[in-house]
Amino acid sequence: MKRFIPPPWTQSIHGYLTAALLFGAGFLVVVTSLLLDSRIRTFLEDRYDEDLMGRAQTLITLTKEFDEGIELDYAGEFMPEFETPEGGEFFEVWLPDDKLLEGSESLVGRKLNLPHDPVPAPRFGDMELDGTGTCRTVIVSFIPQKEDADVEGQLELGDDHSEVVTLLLARKRGDFDRFLLVIRTWIWGSLAFLLGLIILLVRFVLRRGLAPLDDIRRQVMAIDSEDLTCRIDLNRPVMELNPVVTQLNALLERLEEAVIRERRFTSDVAHELRTPLSELRTLSEVGLRDPNDVAMVSSFLGDVHDISLEMQHLVENLLDLTRCDSGSRVTIPEEIDVTEAIRKAWSRAAIAAAPRNIQLSFMVEDPVRIQSDRIMVEQIFQNLLNNAVTHSPPGSTVRVELTAGDSGTEVVVTNPAPQLDSVDLRQMFDRFWQKDSARTGGKNTGLGLAIVSSFTKILEIQVSTRLVNQNFSLSLFFPRP
């Protein structure tokens, strides 16, 4: 089956509204004009016929029956229209025995080409009269008034036809037709003017009404994928479009943030991978240029080993995140003693804490048990304590508070963070985020908190952060299942 292809104008709001409004308004105007034309013409013709009938009535009144017979008491000086052809009015009065009683002088020997049989009611029509043109006619049959009698009447059915007289009256309708033409010309001329006005009005209103939409379209078309900093700005507030613009701008903002994050991520990955690769490559190339320099090569080998371990750590972290993203990270819930997990994590973090004289404040001794994945929870604590140690000033204390309640267990890790700003709290869980944009953290890759974020999402642990008086607190809440 052939697929219906909608016409192009239906695919445009502007085109559709223009077509619909013009068609609708045009239809209404044409229908109104047709009705107006018909009503006015009928009204005028009726009035014209009434006038003609009034003239016929005059002639009927003048027709009387005497003892000697029927007579039309007609005086031309009072009715000059019947005197000459230019008067434009004509009549014939026919007797019942098919004899012409009288015809108007204006006929000048011509005959009205109309039937003169009696008619039960006045009959209007049109006819062509030689030398005059189209005439409006009326045929009326009546019983002439008897002299000295008050009764006068038109033909009644069942009356005696022998006394019935038939009046044929014609009036030239040239002037009337011209008048009708002028009226209709005005009607249809006004219609054309009105239609033109409507077209202009529709175009103006639509252009003005849809201007904000066009404005948005232009601005959206101007958005460059390489530059997402632009925002859509309406010149004047439009109630219907404001939510759309707000949403679009919010979308653009999120898109821009995502692109910036993506670029930063790519750049950070590049940096985190390229730097150790550069180190390895340079160490090997410089070493190979002079392999006999044993002292140099030996020191290089130590560096190569350290770089290998760091890259292994980086790759494992990235793999962990990838597994979390793909949903392939399997969790094995079991009973965990949080107190023990925290102390275990600190025992590892203490290796870096000791040289900088960083202490742990953790008062809880009793076991606090939760149900969760042991490896992931231990990794979370490890990352948090490593982070706290790395970013705390020498000689400071990392405080860990553990609270077990009916709804669940809360662990809060607090450490002094003089370099941290409140805006950092929003970004610190981003992958590769580091406070120092130069990424000179050495062994820190900026993946620790990203892993915490991914793991806590999987384990449904609620995370919140606070920065109060340059003390950074991260709270983990393990809801009771």
């Binding site: 750049s267 590049a270 940096h271 390229r274 730097t275 690769l277 550069s278 180190e279 390895l280 490559r281 340079t282 160490l283 190339e285 410089v286 070493g287 240029r289 002079d290 140099m296 020191s299 290089f300 560096d303 350290d306 770089i307 120092d436 944009s437 130069a438 990424r439 000179t440």
Partner: protein
């Protein structure tokens, strides 16, 4: 020839410094942006090898400030930033070259040498004076058909004097361009190196290529 290597990775610093020194360069290293800028302003390095992501002050800011201050030192950016836009930004800020990490050490050497040649307006790496032929790109010297075995430091001194041919170069200038650090090298060391070079490249019956201007320094006429 004296280089300033600005790189925050200590391991890359060490390996590059050793590699470059083995090629005869005097290399000062720095891993912090502000300090690197101060060093670049204080000393007339032949080339600065500059990382972009640095603590304290990033590489582009250093470069921008150097150029704004009228410093014409040749700068080679060494960065992990590999996007075309990054390279364009680096070059438009005033860098003379851009090398992406990881890089080939030999390529880095070649580019540094090219920048040095550009500095001393010698596009041709081969210099021929009588029977002596020096290839600055390869770091090799021939006396007639025989290759002369110069140590990296000896070669660098010869190369520097060749780049300033016709002009007297003082011992202090030679120390500045041949030794890292802040000039705590005895000028005697230069005399010793010059003496060794003379012995190795001398052709019997011909005058010394490197001539002494007593009280001023050395010159290759």
């Amino acid at each position: 020839m004296k280089l300033l290597l600005v790189e925050d990775s200590v391991r890359l610093q060490n390996s590059l410094k050793k590699g470059l020194e083995k090629e005869g360069f005097a290399v000062d290293v720095c891993g912090e942006g502000r300090e690197a800028y101060d060093m670049a302003v204080a000393y007339d390095y032949d080339v600065i090898v500059l990382d972009l992501m640095l603590p304290g002050m990033n590489g582009l800011t250093i470069l921008e400030k150097l150029r704004a201050g009228g410093r014409q030192t040749h700068v080679l950016i060494l960065s992990a930033k590999d996007q075309v836009a990054d390279r364009i930004r680096g070059l438009e800020t005033g860098a003379d070259d851009y090398l992406i990490k990881p890089f080939d050490f030999t390529e880095l050497l070649a580019r540094v040498k090219a920048l040095i040649r550009r500095r001393y307006a010698t596009k041709n790496p081969i210099v021929q004076i009588g029977a002596l032929k020096v290839n600055t790109a390869l770091g090799k010297v021939w006396r007639g058909d025989d290759e002369v075995n110069l140590s990296p430091k000896e070669f660098t001194l010869l190369e520097y004097l060749l780049s300033r041919r016709g002009r007297v170069v003082s011992r202090d200038t030679l120390v500045d361009h041949l030794y890292e650090g802040y000039g705590d090298v005895s000028s005697n060391v230069i005399d010793v190196v010059v003496c060794k070079i003379r012995k190795k490249i001398r052709i019997r019956g011909e005058p010394n290529l490197i001539q002494t201007r007593r009280g001023f320094g050395y010159v290759i006429p």
